[in-house]
């Protein structure tokens, strides 16, 4: 016991009970910071390990997406999670921030695609039914690029073909999308071999560019000369054999599709490279038509109106289309002071020469020139004809007009000019016009004025006639009545007079009858007169012969 000397002693203070036990190592306390450091480190490591790559994906809508819940799945394996969903600053779309596992880092390349998998009912079928229960998730399609990227634009609909499906993509150009849509099928001999991956309107708005994907191994049937055509819908043909209905599969009837095939006679063409461009034809007939490799342009100068003649209108040779109108212009002919319509047409001579070529060697330019010259000499002309009277659609018809005024091909121009003849419709119209013009020439207005004057005069005349009649009515009728009475009386008198006259006449008849004495006397008297006349004639004759008898007298005794 140690006591301070200057301090008082406290004898009554108890001593503490001493334990001999060794004091527990106070160093044990340092375990706490070590443990804390371990915990802290492990938390740090854990959070570092958990921290994958943070990417942002922008979608048009955040439908079905939930921060912290929506998973990101690659081939249905979760590789990440949506961390937050925000609306872009310009409010045009939704920016999804997602964290991907470290092992998914390799997926984050330029052409990786993200889309929201949700239940979809489309023409192609129903997909994503599982998401109805489990919620939507974001699907991933790994890209092939090596360019690392952390900002992506999400697709609005799942990609039709994922990147790892072997096959080739091709590009089709068409004027009309028809019923085609993304995911519409591609058929080869009615077998589904691919899909439409996407389409977009050309920048100039004149057509559409379709991207199609043909799966391997069918992509090797796409050759450089392969023809693609719309396989959607029903094709009903009426011909002499009856009605023919042809479609691709029933599915394509509903959803549309594209079919392709190479021309049968040229199957040895080289394979088409990926992203080759093709034209999409409207129908199989059009596609499989002999491809018009030779195109000749001709200029047809018409003087008549080309209203109703569209670009693309057929050039028709007795019902067979051998070309089409490619350009329509207006030109002023300064010499003749009139407008002409130079119509440029594309002429496919191969359509004409399919048979002819077999006999003759391959027809060159010269050959066709001679041929055309000869044809023109025989009256081969182009004429505008009305294809449809109702719509006024015109087409260019080629035909022989033996009576046509002579003309020649003009080969001197850059585009040879083919002679034309006024159309039948045009002639008819001209005639009509002439009639109308004649009509117009009539002084219709003057006539009308005259007629109006005449009518006016007539009117006044009629009015005066009317008043006159009224006057007559008022003044003359009573007099007339009395007059009529008088007349009747007079008539009675006349009748009496007539009766008397009849009596008189009867008497006269009696007097003049053949056996009446007066009659007999008359007859005798007339006979006497006759005799007298005869002797007068004798005398005359005698005097004529012997005029001297007047002086000398009659020489009756000389005989």
């Amino acid at each position: 016991m140690k006591d301070s000397p200057q301090l008082p002693d406290f004898p009554e203070v108890a001593d503490a009970v001493l334990e001999r036990r060794q004091n527990r190592s106070s160093r044990l306390i340092w375990l706490i910071p070590i443990v804390a450091a371990i915990i802290g480190l492990s938390l740090a490591v854990k959070s570092y390990m958990e921290r994958g790559t943070v990417i942002t994906i922008s979608f048009k809508s955040g439908e079905g997406l939930e921060a912290g819940k929506t998973k990101i799945k690659y081939k249905d394996v979760q590789i990440g999670e949506v961390k937050s969903i925000a609306i872009a600053k310009d409010r045009s779309n939704v920016v999804v921030t997602a964290e991907l596992n470290r092992e998914a880092k390799g997926l984050l390349v330029e052409d990786t695609r993200f889309w929201v998998v949700r239940a979809r009912i489309s023409s192609g079928g129903i997909s994503g039914l599982s998401t109805l229960m489990g919620g939507s998730y974001i699907g991933v399609d790994a890209g092939k690029s090596s360019q690392h990227q952390e900002k992506f634009n999400g697709l609005e609909r799942p990609p039709v073909v994922s990147m790892d499906v072997p096959g080739h993509q091709f590009i089709l150009h068409t004027k009309d999308i028809g019923s085609l849509d993304v995911a519409s099928s591609i058929f080869y001999r009615r077998m589904q071999v691919g899909e439409i991956v996407g389409y977009e309107l050309d920048k100039d708005g004149n057509g559409l560019t379709l991207k199609i994907f043909v799966r391997s191994p069918y992509d090797r049937y796409v050759k450089t000369n392969t023809m693609f055509w719309h396989a959607s819908g029903i094709d009903i043909t009426f011909d002499s054999n009856g009605v023919k209905v042809s479609t691709e599969s029933l599915g394509s009837l509903l959803t549309g599709g594209i079919a392709f095939q190479s021309p049968e006679e040229r199957v040895d063409a080289p394979l088409a490279e990926a992203n080759s461009e093709f034209t999409l034809f409207a129908s199989k007939e059009e596609a499989m038509k002999r491809p018009d490799t030779i195109v000749e342009s001709y200029l047809l100068v018409f003087t008549e109106s080309v209203r109703g003649l569209p670009i693309g209108a057929p050039v028709d040779l007795r019902g067979v289309t051998v070309g089409e109108v490619s350009k329509i212009n207006v030109e002023l002919d300064p010499h003749r002071k009139q407008f002409t319509m130079p119509v440029e047409v594309r002429f496919y001579p191969e359509r004409l020469r399919a048979r002819y070529r077999k006999k003759a060697p391959k027809g060159g330019a010269m050959n066709s020139r001679d041929l055309l010259d000869a044809l023109v000499e025989h009256g081969f002309r182009a004429q505008l004809r009305s294809g449809n009277l109702l719509t006024g659609q015109l087409y260019v018809s080629l035909d022989f007009f033996p009576k046509a005024p002579p003309a020649k091909m003009d080969w001197s121009k850059s585009i040879p000019e083919f002679p034309t003849i006024a159309g039948s419709m045009e002639q008819f119209q001209t005639t009509l016009m002439q009639i109308v013009q004649k009509f117009e020439k009539l002084p219709l207005e003057e006539l009308a004025v005259d007629a109006r004057q005449t009518i006016r005069t007539l009117d006044t005349t009629l009015k005066s006639a009317d008043t006159l009649l009224k006057n007559v009515d008022a003044a003359i009728v009573p007099e007339a009545r009395s007059m009529i009475i008088d007349v009747r009386k007079s008539l009675d008198d006349v009748r009496k007079t007539l009766d008397e006259a009849r009596k008189t006449l009867g008497e006269a008849k009696q007097t003049l009858s053949s056996d009446a004495p007066l009659q007999l006397d008359m007859r005798d008297a007339l006979r006497e007169v006759g005799r007298a006349a005869q002797s007068l004639r004798v005398l005359g004759e005698y005097l004529e012969r012997n005029p001297e008898a007047l002086i000398r007298g009659k020489k009756g005794d000389e005989r």
Binding site: K2, L7, A16, N23, A36, L43
Partner: protein
């Protein structure tokens, strides 16, 4: 300090913390016990500074994950959030509840930090046998001890919410790993404050006055 001030230690005495019996502690080595109630007695808390340092360092280490890791995950039909303490404060501030944001900020960030710094100051000053402002340092210590438990407010809130709000997909609240770290920080600083013997603040003064 005048030399006339007598402490139990200068008299070679100590009192039992439990029953208040005054006794002679005897040897500085080994453990002494109260002859009356059997509680451990010591003039000064043994290894006070070292233990306090150990706990304080542990608290410092865990203070980082406590603030950096998520403390609470709240998910509802509409939104999903993962909040660290600071992001929660920011969110509260932005959403208009400035008062609550201030409370959370003070209780969950300022107070633990204050405790850590205050204890560090106390320990360093004690180790340097500093005679610098002993009264104020004592007051600081009392403050640290008083305020200690209130830092657990945050942890309480999180645990209660996590326990209550579990409506499956409608709304969920989960405690993040940050909450564990944060709780540990608070507990460790409380222990550190307990381990600290405030009498050590005054010891250098006595020595100084003696010499």
């Amino acid at each position: 300090m005048s030399s006339s001030i007598v402490t139990a230690a200068t008299l070679g005495l100590c009192s039992c913390h439990a029953c208040g019996l005054v006794m002679r502690p005897g040897s500085a080595f080994g453990k002494a016990r109260c002859p009356k109630c059997g509680a451990a007695v010591h003039i000064r808390k043994p290894d006070s500074v070292r233990r306090c340092w150990a706990l304080l360092i542990a608290a410092y280490i865990l203070y980082l994950p406590a603030n950096l890791l998520t403390i609470m995950e709240t998910g509802s039909l509409i939104s999903y959030r993962k909040d660290t303490i600071m992001s929660g404060v920011v969110h509260l501030w932005k959403s208009g509840s400035c008062a609550i944001a201030a409370i959370v900020f003070i209780a969950s960030i300022m107070v633990p930090l204050f405790k850590l710094i205050a204890l560090t100051i106390l320990l360093i000053s004690v180790q340097c046998r500093s005679t610098w402002w002993p009264t104020e340092r004592s007051r600081l210590y009392r403050m640290v001890e008083l305020v200690g438990r209130w830092s657990m407010l945050d942890v309480y809130v999180v645990t209660i919410l996590a326990a209550l709000v579990q409506i499956r997909s409608l709304a969920t609240v989960r405690a993040g790993s940050g909450a564990v770290a944060f709780g540990t920080v608070v507990v460790l600083t409380m222990f550190a404050a307990m381990e600290f013997d405030p009498r050590l603040i005054w010891d250098p003064l006595r020595k100084e006055s003696k010499s």
